[in-house]
Assembly symmetry: C2
Homo-oligomer: 322 residues x 2
Amino acid sequence: MKSLSETQIIRILTNQFSGQPGIPLDFGDDVSAIPFSSKTWIIVKTDMLVGSTDIPPGMTIEEAARKSVVATVSDFAAKGVRPQALMVSLGLPAPVKKKTVQDIARGLRQAAREYRCKMIGGDTNQADDLIIDIAGIGIANPKTLVRRNGARPGDIIAVTGLFGKTSAGLGILTSRREKDLAKYPSLVRAVRRPRARLAEGIILAKSSGATSSIDSSDGLAWSLHQIARSSKVGINLHTIPIASDVQRFAKEHRLSALDLALYGGEEYELVVTIRPEKFHHSKKRVPSLTRIGIVEKQSFGVWAHLAGKRTQVKERGWEHFS
Amino acid sequence: MKSLSETQIIRILTNQFSGQPGIPLDFGDDVSAIPFSSKTWIIVKTDMLVGSTDIPPGMTIEEAARKSVVATVSDFAAKGVRPQALMVSLGLPAPVKKKTVQDIARGLRQAAREYRCKMIGGDTNQADDLIIDIAGIGIANPKTLVRRNGARPGDIIAVTGLFGKTSAGLGILTSRREKDLAKYPSLVRAVRRPRARLAEGIILAKSSGATSSIDSSDGLAWSLHQIARSSKVGINLHTIPIASDVQRFAKEHRLSALDLALYGGEEYELVVTIRPEKFHHSKKRVPSLTRIGIVEKQSFGVWAHLAGKRTQVKERGWEHFS
């Protein structure tokens, strides 16, 4: 039997809850908001890590627990909001070993410290699958929160780092090829110890030049399409920043480095659009920021002009149930 | 291999996170809090429903989804706080049928309407087990929030309803005995369509007589022990309000109605301690409130004096991994 896709599932759910009054942020945005006052919104995000689908071979439970926090923090980063507190809901297959729980606790603590969040509570349950569901809670001024839908023609598209590392790293981990594991430590590390761009996201939101933002956790191509659709704009890329190890790895294995960079996932960079007159200032504050293209009118779609060739960027990325 | 118990798991996790500054509510309390100002705390609670362990035969997916919200709302009820918003994280085994998602969406919407919460967002994932993890978010004045640890000797112990229905109902559903299903609809309904005592909890918190409160979701006995331990008091019961259908069912099946009432679970009544001079006022505002005992000094433990007999109430209840 064909399964519903993640997109179809989300559509059924959002249809059921559309039309509720007093919800200030689109269901489609990276985080959710509860208005508290004109200057204050409570921001919430939940992100579930599932053992059977989200932990590749070679990743420890401690790393998986740390990563579950990184995934939630990354969505806050994209909005320029600091998550103050975290809640954790655990589903654990029985029998539960002491070491498993200790490893989870250590991974969570590590991440909470890295991003200076407090772990304030949670819930523990028996389940057939390992589940680590993280809820992040923060406070934001709605004026500085960067939405998905603010990109305007003429804005610069920029990203905070290089792409392709996690899809290459995931390939290495799942193939368990010893040689590659030793040869490409940076690619493996990108999967096992990802980082959220929280500091960068907060700076970009404060600099007031960012018009839209999303993280690249479902892949660069997917993220670009989300910005294009939410903002009703087109996107024209003139470069894709690919990590040099990804280039090497792709060449060795006859893969397309471009595909690895565009259609990966679990890569927690930020994809932002910035007003052109503010880009220089933003780049000075966030040195990792790289200009990759320009926002165009809606009819355009998402295209890349690379080495004199015009390539369509497909709306494809990391999707569950696919 | 023997599994860690839920209590042991929680201990490992809380040990890892104890000593964080600025956490105003005990890890052991029903909800978690983030201080926002002297008069405002953000209140958060997550509660995970797991398909393989939390959905008895005869309960529909729609009912399970509704119940997952009730469980979270019930913890807010115990603290006297209205949950304003809900987030849902789903884990769904593939292949995912349209009807499953529609049923989940309907169950969630129903509960959100009953308790006037807004569903503001969520996350969808593929998993080996059905997971419905609900996060509730609300705002509370720390002065009116009723903690677990405020019971004082002399306070009256009261509950909001009758007990034993869900453990009897669960027995009926798991045995699938057709005759009982027809004969005891109220017991089956208690499992399939539980209600959280949100209105009652908010009134009790506002009446300023409530000194401690907890819901009975892990069983009446367990809840009484939690209040006794957190508040460092003893508890002396003079009655256990048992539903008449539970009495009938217990008699017919030669079970102890008292055990069904004390050691059940998933029963979302409130267990509160109230200053004696305020009880009359509280009872007038919340007619379902029933006095079941009195708070004593710590050395006492939890006992019941029923029909001239002194019975120890054991610290036993609903625990995962047991």
